[in-house]
């Protein structure tokens, strides 16, 4: 019986092979995949910067203190949460390329600023460009910069950078955002930020998650542990707020009509005797995924 079944399965496979062969000969082309003798002759660059939305889509925790966006006043690096009104700054984006084959000459880089918060409206600063080399060589990373005169009204702003290459193997990792606010607690430390709905006609129900993730320090390459596959070694679990800290958001969730923006207040209380710096990431989510986020840093001398 078993032999008969095996023979029957063999016949079915043979029939499927003959059908596939005839379809192939009659014009059905082979699928484009790496195993083909002649794979699609396309290689593409992959310009990117630290992109919170892409990393979150992969399940990784993120910080909104973007390590690839910098602000200079003159020649001095400054904290983006302490910008003065009506003052010219230079915003710099650091851009990487994960392709070892394809550079990007004249990579357009668009800069925006937003009200401090999540899902708020962006305003164009302008567009600059840079020449990005391939992974491991001199022009990678490359830097793009632009002058920005801050609005006349004093306030806290987020900075957004969007890469606009002519071609890309991954279009999802081109948007980076730096949303950071630092304060020293007056027991408790109080922050406020905006949450907006500028994406569509539907009501946006926003909830928040809170964690204490920071980008961990890198291991030295000659460290034996660095030799392992780091991607698998990177934790997908964000560290929660340490014991003794309290974070209270008011309101704790939001329902936003189209075009509406609401303020959220965060009260962060450190444990008694704490000194140092503690970043707290607040990320907003709606039914479609992340809305945005802010990193609120408490510094106790």
């Amino acid at each position: 019986m078993s032999l008969l079944k095996q023979f029957w399965e063999f016949l079915l496979k043979l029939l499927a092979f003959i059908v596939a062969l005839f379809r192939y000969l009659l014009g059905l082309k082979k699928r484009a995949r790496c195993a083909c003798p002649n794979p699609p002759p396309l290689k593409k660059p992959d310009p990117f910067l630290y992109c919170q939305y892409f990393l979150m889509a992969l399940g990784y925790p993120v910080t909104w203190d973007n390590p690839d966006i910098f602000v200079f006043e003159g020649l001095v690096l400054v904290d983006p949460h302490q910008l003065k009104a009506n003052t010219q700054y230079t915003v710099v984006a650091r851009v990487w390329n994960s392709s070892v084959f394809v550079p990007v000459i004249h990579l357009n880089v668009a800069f925006f600023y937003l009200s401090f918060g999540m899902g708020t409206q962006s305003h164009a600063i302008g567009t600059s460009w840079t020449d990005l080399g391939v992974k491991g060589l001199a022009d990678c990373p490359a830097y793009a910069s632009i002058y920005w005169t801050t609005p006349a009204t004093l306030g806290h702003y987020c900075i957004q950078v969007l890469l606009e290459p002519p071609d890309d193997s991954n279009w999802l990792n081109n948007l980076g955002q730096r949303n950071i606010f630092v304060t020293q607690p007056q027991s408790p430390a109080v922050f406020s930020f905006s949450v907006g709905n500028h994406v569509g006609p539907r009501v946006r129900n926003v909830r928040f998650t809170i964690d204490a993730y920071t980008i961990p320090p890198l291991l030295a390459c000659d460290d034996r542990r660095a030799g392992i596959d780091r991607t698998r070694a990177v934790s997908k679990v964000a560290p929660s707020v340490p014991e003794g800290w309290t974070v209270v958001l008011t309101p704790g969730s939001l329902q936003l009509a189209q075009g509406e923006e609401q303020q959220v207040q965060a009260e962060i209380t450190p444990p008694p005797g704490f000194s140092g710096s503690m970043p707290i990431n607040v990320t907003g989510w709606d039914a479609n995924g992340p809305v945005g986020g802010v990193t609120l840093t408490v510094e106790v001398p």
Binding site: N38, V92, P103, I105, G133, Y143, A220, C221
Partner: protein, 504 residues
């Protein structure tokens, strides 16, 4: 790393080792005839069909292998290493597989496209007097240097925006192969234009001002433009414009071919007009043709500022492998047939097997072609970039791909209709931008591709260095998400820049 795509061809560095397709056809036929005669001889000696047929078929396979060797190793003439070019994908020429295993041309599975070299216009064409010098000769005549030097002298007035170095990519190379006296037609790809229901608002006739010698001919081209920027070739065919001449010094055919009458008064200027439609709705364009003294020259082919590029498929290599396998099979069958009856039976079986392999293997090889560099949406399909080839763009707003290509610079002696310079095989190709088809028609490329080409040449001179692989394989370059997340700290610092780079 310098070659992204596999290649199976070589090119002749010494032109003395090159010989033409005519010669190889004769040699191949000669080997085939010898094979048939030997087969008949063997059949006669043994008084049996199988040994003779198998012997003939084996030698015929050798003839095929000989032809494949010519195709792969002799056909192309090296013009001097690798060259790069930058421009717009003008049109694509995908391979055309068929079920006909005897059609040798279908085993050419290279994927070809023509690149409009920046900053040429699609309508730019080399002057007839130049192209005529390299028209297919009745017998090989060594090329003269004078047309090249004359073209070079006139180049700044003919095409002031195109560098001579870039243009030289598509011109006959006197020093390398001028002694062979081959025909050279360069590249011309008809541009049927885009469809639109709007009427034509203007007609441009090219060349617009030309002198021709007494008794000579000149091919004109009429292009009609609509208000939305779309255009159509009106030179000839069912929708052609009506051509008229203002005087007897030059006549004009319905297909736009001007002939200067032999007894015309010299230095006479005539106006050639192309008219489309009738009455108040008609539009027209004109060109002036001056009849001058000189040797009579027939109108040759057109040559645009296009470089032909080919990504190689392995069709001919596979065919050669198949022919070697068949040669072995037929030889075995011939030997076994001397040992009847079992040997004869096995021989018949082997012959049938070999014929089946040819029947199914041929089309399979033809389908194993190189992939396309252009995107879904264009008529030929593909899986790439999001833009169109120029001639496939459905509207003037459709984006045409701008690319940088590097490949081996060769002359293809079997290029149709005669010979042409090519980048063959393409080593690598990178999309560098896109531009609306309408912009390209009027020369608005939107970006300075010349400086981009210079930078890419510099980048790839470093990327292709052997030491680059070592650098890129270092532990600090093994990240995949972001260097600060899944990388490690090497010698380079990840600290912010000390000073801000100046904005561009």
């Amino acid at each position: 790393m310098g070659n992204w795509y596999q290649s199976w061809t070589n090119c002749c560095t010494n032109v003395n080792s090159w010989f033409s397709d005519n010669s190889v056809n004769w040699y191949t036929a000669l080997i085939g005839v010898v094979g048939v005669l030997v087969g008949v001889g063997v059949g006669g000696v043994t008084a049996a069909l199988i040994p003779g047929a198998a012997t003939s078929l084996a030698i015929l396979c050798l003839a095929g292998v000989y032809y494949c060797n010519w195709w792969l190793n002799i056909r192309l003439i090296c013009l001097g290493g690798d060259r790069s070019a930058i421009g717009a994908i003008f049109n694509i020429e995908p391979p055309t597989p068929s079920l006909d295993f005897l059609n040798l041309g279908d085993y050419d599975t290279d994927y070809s496209f023509n690149l409009l070299i920046y900053p040429a216009l699609p309508l730019d064409m080399l002057p007839n007097w130049f192209v005529d010098n390299f028209s297919p000769p009745t017998s090989p005549t060594p090329w003269q240097l004078s047309p090249i030097t004359q073209l070079q002298a006139q180049w700044p007035t003919l095409f002031p925006f195109i560098s001579w170095d870039d243009a030289n990519l598509i011109l006959p190379q006197q020093g390398t192969m001028g002694s062979l006296g081959l025909g050279f037609t360069g590249q011309y790809a008809s541009s049927p234009g885009s469809s639109s229901a709007l009427p034509f608002v203007s007609i441009i006739v090219a060349p617009s001002d030309q002198s021709i010698t007494n008794g000579s001919t000149l091919q004109l081209k009429a292009t009609g433009y609509r208000a939305d920027g779309s255009y159509q070739d009106l030179t000839q065919g069912p929708n052609a414009a009506t051509w008229t001449s203002s005087g007897p010094a030059a006549t004009i055919s319905t297909g736009g071919l001007v002939t200067a009458t032999t007894n015309a008064s010299l230095n006479t200027t005539v106006f050639i007009t192309a008219t489309y439609g009738s009455g108040a709705a008609s539009v027209s364009g004109a060109a002036t043709v001056k009849v001058v003294t000189g040797t009579t020259v027939a109108a040759g082919p057109w040559e645009q500022i296009l470089i032909h590029c080919e990504i190689e498929g392995r069709g001919m290599e596979d065919l050669r492998t198949l022919l070697w396998a068949l040669f072995g099979t037929f030889t075995t069958a011939a030997v076994l047939s001397f040992f009847p009856p079992i040997g004869t039976a096995i021989s018949i079986f082997l012959l049938l097997l070999a014929l089946l392999a040819l029947l199914f293997g041929g089309p399979a090889i033809q389908n194993d072609d190189a992939g396309p560099p252009n995107p879904p949406g264009s008529p030929q399909g593909g899986d790439g970039w999001g833009g169109y080839a120029y001639v496939d763009a459905p509207t003037t707003g459709s984006l045409v791909d701008l690319v940088y290509v590097c490949g081996r610079w060769v002359f293809d002696s079997l290029h149709q209709p005669v010979g042409s310079n090519e980048l063959h095989p393409v080593h690598y190709i990178v999309k560098v931008g896109s531009v609306p088809m309408g912009g390209l028609t009027t020369g608005d490329w939107g970006i300075d591709l010349e400086s981009m080409k210079t930078k890419l040449d510099q980048q790839y001179s470093i990327i292709n260095m052997p030491s680059t692989v070592n650098i890129q394989s270092k532990p600090e370059n093994q990240w995949s998400l972001h260097p600060l997340i899944d990388g490690c700290q090497g010698q380079a610092s990840y600290a912010p820049p000390a000073t801000p780079p100046p904005p561009k």
